[in-house]
């Protein structure tokens, strides 16, 4: 599903002295079956932006098109299930959404809400628990007896179980150790390669460089850049104004270029950087 924002503005606490602008006239398109990263400082409006896609928030003005579904300020709170079924959302620290007494029941919760039969939901739970890297024996355990990292995986399985076409991730790896982070990011990349649309909110520019096809930069509720990561990370104005930081490889290349080395475009991954260095050293 392609997702389009047309002049979307969202203000919090309208008509109150504490009113604030969460989104300011955002227009953008999130391409179908691509991996799109959304970056920006804390409080820039990234989370507000993605909550409009499944109508958890509605725009104050403007329109969001999700496939052929239209969301405006007038959108009714009823009949949103068909929309939400197709949009899986992994929140920050998603383990806090677990509530059932077994892992299996918790994973089944989403699919059953969206109309799956108990049999279908059970089958989904079995499939998903393996997908997130845990074995079937976990299905009968209480989610509250698991470690933090395992709870995270169960929560992710619970979101994936409804088989959504689009998956929105709000810093899904925050607080995990590096191995866990790597496994979870690869899981989502593989889902994309199998035909899902992935939208990732992150502060980790290396993840953007390594996994994303497209990226968008948000600052103070405004969209300030979109495009391919290798192009966006080379927009000097963004870096100068501190709206964006660089992946490690690009940063290293920039430092190297102070003596001898020259990069037409900063490489953003280690592989690309290594290749450039080898070439410049005459290999």
């Amino acid at each position: 599903m392609e997702i389009t924002f047309e002049h979307v503005t969202h203000s919090y606490n309208v008509n109150s002295p504490t009113a604030s602008l969460g989104l300011d006239d955002v227009s953008m398109t999130i391409k179908d079956k691509k991996f799109t990263a959304i970056v920006g400082q804390t409080g820039s409006g990234k989370s507000t932006l993605v909550r409009h896609i499944n109508a958890l928030l509605k725009p104050t003005s403007g329109t969001i098109l999700v496939g052929d579904r239209k969301i405006t300020s007038e959108t009714n709170n009823k009949n949103l299930k068909s929309l939400r079924k197709n949009i899986g959302m992994v929140f920050q620290f998603p383990e806090s959404q677990l509530f059932e007494d077994t892992v299996q029941k918790d994973i089944m919760f989403g699919p059953m809400n969206f109309g799956a039969s108990a049999r279908e939901a059970k089958a989904a739970a079995k499939k998903m628990i393996k997908l997130v890297g845990l074995d079937e024996s976990y299905l009968e355990k209480s989610p509250f007896d698991l470690s933090g990292g395992q709870m995270r995986r169960v929560a992710i399985a619970g979101v994936l179980a409804s088989d959504p076409e689009t998956i929105i991730l709000d810093e899904p790896t925050a607080g995990l150790d590096p191995v866990g982070r790597f496994e979870i990011m690869n899981l989502f990349k593989n889902l994309q390669l199998k035909g899902k649309t992935i939208i990732l909110i992150t502060h980790n520019m290396d993840d953007v460089a390594n996994f994303a096809d497209e990226m968008a930069v948000i600052h103070s509720g405004k969209l300030v850049a979109t495009g391919l990561p290798k192009d966006v990370f080379n927009q000097q104005d963004l870096l100068k104004e501190d709206l964006l930081s660089l992946p490690k490889s690009a940063e290293f290349a920039r430092e190297l270029s102070s003596q001898g080395f020259h990069f037409d475009k900063l490489p953003i991954t280690i592989t690309a950087l290594g290749k450039e260095i080898k070439q410049q050293l005459g290999d």
Partner: protein
């Protein structure tokens, strides 16, 4: 959650913000008490004039107080309707079965309505201009005499202030969990009563779990910072009673005297 004004603090700067919270706290209760002394048009008008004056002094937008009425709107409407229809009278304007509509009923309903407005306005005024921690400080200070009977006043006060401190955090947590479950297909406003109650289980359990985890972490953090049992602690927050606080009390007493003159016996 953003719409409820009752019990919320609004940062600001005016005389009412600077008054000693103990004075404000006690006077608010005192005012609620003397509202019941009013029994005719003149006395209600006088109290209303005072409340409007206090609102003016606070420099807070009047709209906030109107909003404060909203959550109790139905309660007010119900009570007023009850008075309108059930006040017994010798010369009713309209009478049908158990219902009576009369001039007396109209007047009493008007008074009841005034009482609600006055009490809600004045208590909204207290919470808008006083931080929760100041209110908890006042309670501690007012309860101090109970220490003599071994009531753990300081511990209770710390408990209260920590509880207040974590309310906004739990509100955020609730919003987040609700969003997460809505994204998983829960519809909170759908179906019959049982279904609706059931739909809150996926919120309440995570909320309990996270409250316990906050409590556990906080207890460890407090112990690591040397909190033992509340004994032998000194206090950083101090309340200072100033001349203007005494003047406010005197002003309120004067007000009471005028009120006693205005009411009919």
């Amino acid at each position: 959650m953003d719409k409820i004004i009752l019990g919320r603090y609004l940062p600001g700067d005016s005389l009412l913000y600077h008054l000693d919270p103990r004075g404000k706290f006690l006077l608010t209760f005192y005012f609620v008490g003397i509202v019941f002394l009013a029994n005719n048009g003149a006395s209600y008008a006088f109290l209303l004039a005072f409340v409007i004056f206090a609102v003016y002094l606070s420099k807070i937008n009047f709209g906030f107080f109107i909003k404060g009425l909203r959550p109790v709107f139905w309660l007010i409407l119900f009570t007023v309707a009850l008075q309108l229809l059930f006040t017994p009278s010798n010369n009713p304007i309209w009478h049908w079965g158990i219902f009576t509509f009369s001039k007396d009923g109209l007047v009493i309903a008007g008074y009841i309505f005034m009482r609600f407005v006055l009490i809600i306005f004045i208590s909204t005024l207290l919470t808008l201009t006083t931080t929760p921690i100041e209110i908890s400080d006042s309670i501690e200070s007012i309860l101090k005499p109970l220490k003599k009977v071994n009531f753990p006043v300081t511990q209770v006060a710390l408990m209260l202030s920590i509880a207040l401190r974590f309310v906004p955090l739990l509100v955020d947590e609730t919003t987040k969990i609700m969003d997460a479950q809505r994204a998983r297909g829960v519809d909170f406003g759908e179906g019959g009563l049982i279904k609706r109650i059931k739909s809150f289980v996926p919120i309440l359990i995570p909320l309990f779990v996270s409250s316990f985890s906050i409590a556990y972490d906080l207890a460890i953090a407090m112990e690591s910072r040397g909190y033992k049992d509340g004994e032998g602690r000194s206090k950083y927050r101090v309340l200072k009673w100033e001349k203007r606080d005494t003047l406010t009390i005197l002003f309120m007493l004067g007000l009471t005297v005028i009120l006693l003159f205005l009411r009919s016996y």
